[in-house]
């Protein structure tokens, strides 16, 4: 059980790292990549919490989120492409 908890701490640390990249990433693609990674970390997080709290029903949520993450990333790719072609990048991105 303590090993699961150690793994959970590792997953939380990775979530914070992905969040940092989603703030920093100079291009939009860096942010999309960071959110994608955050999504798969959430899947692992929910599965681990399920086992830590003794509730295997949480795995349905994890399975569902694995799917939604994929659809979301494809949506961002398709719907942002032509707009980013004429948007001005990086330095003006943060107020």
């Amino acid at each position: 059980m303590t090993l699961l908890l150690a793994a959970m701490i590792g997953i939380l640390a990775t979530m914070v790292l992905a969040l940092a990249r989603s703030f920093l990433g100079p291009t939009l693609y860096d942010r999309i990549l960071a959110i994608n990674m955050f999504g798969t970390k959430t899947v692992i997080f929910v599965a681990l919490i399920g086992f830590l709290m003794g509730r295997p029903q949480f795995l349905d949520i994890a399975l569902f989120y694995a799917l939604v993450n994929f659809v979301g990333i494809i949506a961002v790719l398709k719907l942002s492409h032509y707009r980013e072609l004429d948007a001005v990048q990086s330095e003006e991105d943060v107020r």
């Binding site: 919490i49 509730r55 949480f58 349905d60 949520i61 949506a75 492409h81 707009r83 943060v94």
Partner: protein, 331 residues
Amino acid sequence: MTPEVELINIVLFAILVATAVGITRLRGLYGAVMLAALFSLVIACLFVLLDAVDVAFTEAAVGAGISTVLMLTVLALTRAREAVTPRRRLWPAGIGSVLAGGMLIYASQDLPAFGRPDTPVQSHPVTATYLQASQDEIGVPNTVTSVLASYRGYDTLGELAVIFTAGIAVQLILSQVPRHDPDFEREKLLLTDYRVLRVVSKVLFPFIFLFALYVQFHGDYGPGGGFQAGVIFASGFVLYGLVFGIDTARRVMPGRLLQLLISSGLLLYAGVGVANMLLGGAFLDYDTLNPGHPVDGQHLGILLVELGVGITVAGVMMAIFFICADRRAAG
């Protein structure tokens, strides 16, 4: 609360605050929408920690899934960068936020500590009555479903009517925005060029729809139910529309079929209620559906009602996505 759960809560809340700050500071709106999806994800994790599984499922489905896709389709119709707020608006807005937030924080001091056994929620006889009576009268393991679909059936009918109205309103408003030119697709990123994506998506579709049906009918025994199942079903079609083009998706799911789906779900729900009245009971009193065995009647009623919810939610989400993704920006 055990110290491990405390630690996880603190980290998640810190991530939430950082994300909120990031959303307000980013001027590129696509990045802000992705951060909003991340926000919904963290909220879903917090709900999971609080043991509220159905709510977490719905939050992940709606907040991080469909909502993000719909916001992105709408962003494609307007500018992608936030306009600069003039200085004179910053001060009143800031003061208003501080006042509202301060009042909320002050009011939350009166809330009892989390999980204390003597709070009104835990000790009022209503809670014990519902938990006990749900097993006797309805016999469904998931009490959330029994409360949602049977004890508070009017509420859920109202929610479904709200979703129905939203679908119709979006269609009415956006029908004024001009549609894409037929050759617009050629200038944009054509995802059908990506063979890997095409093949993988085709492999995934049957599993997505099967999973939607599983969540729909398993809602009595685990987390799930009509709302989540409808969103998953719509996500399958959203994926199809994104990868293969909106026109191809419209051939599979034509507009008339969508209108039929949207209205038939609500009709099914209200129809069950009317059938109950015709059979001699009150509106939405499922006992009358099976006169000798009221528990079986409740099961049948909940099944039909959740099916109605799933159909309408799926129809509305698909309709809104098809409409938004098909328009081009004005001017």
